[in-house]
């Protein structure tokens, strides 16, 4: 299903596209295919869910969301779906995952929370805690960004 051409397309459009009036024309030219064919593949990736979003990535600090926390929760296995869906319903939550607990780290629900203030982040954590009825959690503030890049594929 994933041809050599698909790999080349994914690799190319995972990086910043040229800021020109007809970006897909430039990209198609680079790939040696027709612009129409490229657009068709991109629509297919989107439709099938392989591609999440083709959009701008912002520097969240520079656009005002200076604070973010990772809150991790210890949720009983049988409640994880309910707690996960409730946590995901908060607009301030950008990422929400279940991950395996480990011996040294007894948390299985992970959430990234963004806000304009430190207090704003903590308010959201408190609201989630109430909603999912879980008091066993840990909050980690990000202290420094060492890397943030697009995934490199193929």
């Amino acid at each position: 299903m994933f041809s050599k051409l698909d790999k080349a397309i994914v690799s190319l459009i995972s990086q910043d596209i040229p800021l020109v009036k007809e970006p897909f024309r430039d990209l198609a030219l680079k790939l040696g295919i027709e612009e129409e064919a490229l657009l068709k593949r991109i629509k297919y990736y989107k439709r099938s869910g392989l591609m999440r979003k083709f959009s701008a990535s912002l520097n969240h600090r520079k656009v005002g969301f200076k604070h973010n926390v990772m809150a991790v929760w210890n949720i009983p296995e049988r409640l994880i779906n309910k707690a996960g869906n409730l946590t995901a319903s908060f607009p301030e939550v950008s990422h929400c995952y279940e991950r395996k607990k480990t011996r040294d780290w007894n948390y299985n629900l992970y959430s990234m929370i963004h806000s304009r203030s430190r207090k704003g982040c903590l308010d959201v954590v408190r609201d989630i805690s109430k909603k999912i009825e879980c008091k066993d959690y840990k909050v980690l503030f990000s202290s420094r960004e060492y890397k943030k890049s697009a995934g490199r594929y193929f």
Binding site: L39, L50, M51, Y97, T102, Y110, S143, A150
Partner: protein
Amino acid sequence: MKTKLNLIDKRILNRLQKDIPFVKRPWKAVAGELNLKEDLLLKRIGLLKKKGLIRRISAGFDPRRIGFASTLAAIKTGPRDIDKVAKKINAYPEVTHNYGRVPLFREKGRGRDSEYNLWFTLVAKDKKRISQIVKLVRKYDDIKGILELPAVKLFKIDVNFKV
């Protein structure tokens, strides 16, 4: 850099966090939605990129769906070593994100050295490569512990800042 955003920039930033149209002239289409001229939109986007507010405009894929493996990992390292260790980890192209993190409350009886304070994500061609990198990182002298935390289930991924 402190940047004061005008209303047009804000509307552009909010719009561009959603899918761009998959058509020949995507900016013309977006400009139409925002009631702007295509040339002005391109100029503003160029400036927003130059100022670093927009990092890039690109497609984001679900790594697992296209046959790649991914994981979150965390390590414990001394506060004095963290910059050095972070730099070493960044050298792997498979590392996509890497953040220093500090807990709101430190656990009782635990010193600063015993916190998981460096958190990074790996996207690699397969699970084997992930294990290999984790194994290599585990051997670093300055590391006191490492967690490998692959996702079991995704509930949400939607990075969208209302500016």
